[in-house]
Structure formats: C-alpha cells, structure tokens
Symmetry: C2
Subunit: 135 residues, 2 copies
C-alpha cells in the first residue's frame, strides 16, 4: 500500500509539473480564484499582464479589487453564476490596474473540497480588432 | 509525517484537477508526448480535432505516425531540438488523418524522471488568414 501511494504520489507530481508548463505555454491569459476567499490562487504571465500587474503582486490579491466598481460578494456570485450557466458570453469588465476592458470567461470546478474559478481573460479591444480584420 | 504526506497528496490531487480543467478550457490545441516512447500521453479535444481524430483514438498513438513522411527517431529529435533552441518558429507539418498543415510548437520538460514534450498545434491556414486580416 505504501508503494502504491508513492507511485500515485509520483504521478501526481508529474501532473503538477504538466499544469505549470501548460499555464505558461498557453497563449490564453488565465487567473485561478478561490470562491471561498475571493483571492487569486494562481495566474500566468499573460493573465498578470492583462490585469496590469506582475505575478508576485497579484498572487493572493482579492479578485474583486482588480476590477472597477465591483463589490466582492456580488462579483464572485456573478462569476460563479456565469460559470454554471449555458450562455457562452463572457463578462465585460474594466481592470483597475491596466484600465483596459477585459472579457472574462469563468469555469467553476471543485478540487480538494474547495470551489475554484478558472477565468480566461481577453482584451476586449483585441477581440474587436480581430473580428473587424476577418469580416 | 503521515499527515503532512496526506496534506501534500491532497494538494497534488488539486493540481491534477486544475491541469485537466486547464487542458479543456484553453483555446490552444495541445498534445503531450513522451520522448522515451514517442507516444501521445495526453491531448485535449482541440488537439484531437486538428489531428483529425478523437481523444480515445489518439491517446497512446505514436506521434510520428500522425504526420506525413516522418520517421519516429528523426521526428522526436527534431521536436526536442526545436524545444531547446532559441528560435520561436514552429515546425510546419502535414497531419496524416486530417490532411491539414499544422504548425507545431514544442516545449520540453522533465516530470517524474521522464522527458515530455508539450506541443501546441495550430492550423497553418488559420494563421495565414488572421495575419492577412490584420495587415
């Protein structure tokens, strides 16, 4: 049983590495938020860039504070509701640090007994530019 | 020590879940390959789609066989060389099942003593269309 646990542990460590590599390799800007605390538990460089800060600055920050005019409870509730709804439309928000409009697409999941939101961020300006370019 | 191990184990399981969620949420097409065996150890739906198969079909498949005119040893060597080089340019390959040209950007990393390649795939046709649209 101890050996099986260790083998399992080893394979979990591999997943951990895969997760970290994927976070930095993906071109999507990603922020992971704890629903319980409302704080950022992880983000990638692209995510930090769109929010207008650095990874060390933003790690542990309250997500609602990173957007203009959003109160904590209401904000997390709307993200969670969006994540479980069938609509594909993201929320349009103004990032406080970068003062840029971001489209936020949340996905809610449960891990180790905690609810987490994985949010994909996109610059609203860029989305419009690409759509115009292709039309 | 047992409790610390269990706590650690729990947090690793959380990483595992985060990895799986991120794989499906990212808009990038991703394929993870073992350098040792040359086989696909994981891929997301977008990755399977670009290769022209389904996830169950492609899981465990020899990656070199998924591209036209590529011998296994040579193929893995060129991907690994590209991954460790400073050039950002991806390899342009023809996918056998979908018969579409793909740009492959590999990142090499070591996890649990094994070398893995995380490959980002992109349709070459789509890249050209977006560039034309924006120019």
């Amino acid at each position: 049983a101890q050996m099986a646990l260790e083998r399992d542990y080893e394979s979990q460590r591999e997943m951990d590495t895969r997760y970290r590599v994927l976070m930095e390799v993906t071109r999507d800007a990603v922020v992971v938020v704890s629903v319980g605390t409302g704080r950022i538990v992880d983000l990638n460089t692209a995510g930090a860039h769109l929010l207008g800060g650095t990874k060390p600055e933003l790690m542990g920050a309250a997500i609602a504070q990173e957007f203009e005019g959003r109160r904590r409870g209401e904000f997390l509730e709307s993200l969670t509701n969006l994540a479980v709804s069938d609509t594909a439309a993201p929320i349009d928000l103004l990032a406080r640090r970068s003062q840029s409009r971001l489209l936020v697409t949340p996905t809610v999941f449960r891990a180790a007994g905690e609810r987490l939101l994985l949010c994909r961020l996109e610059s609203a300006a860029k989305v419009v530019a690409v759509q115009d370019g292709l039309s």
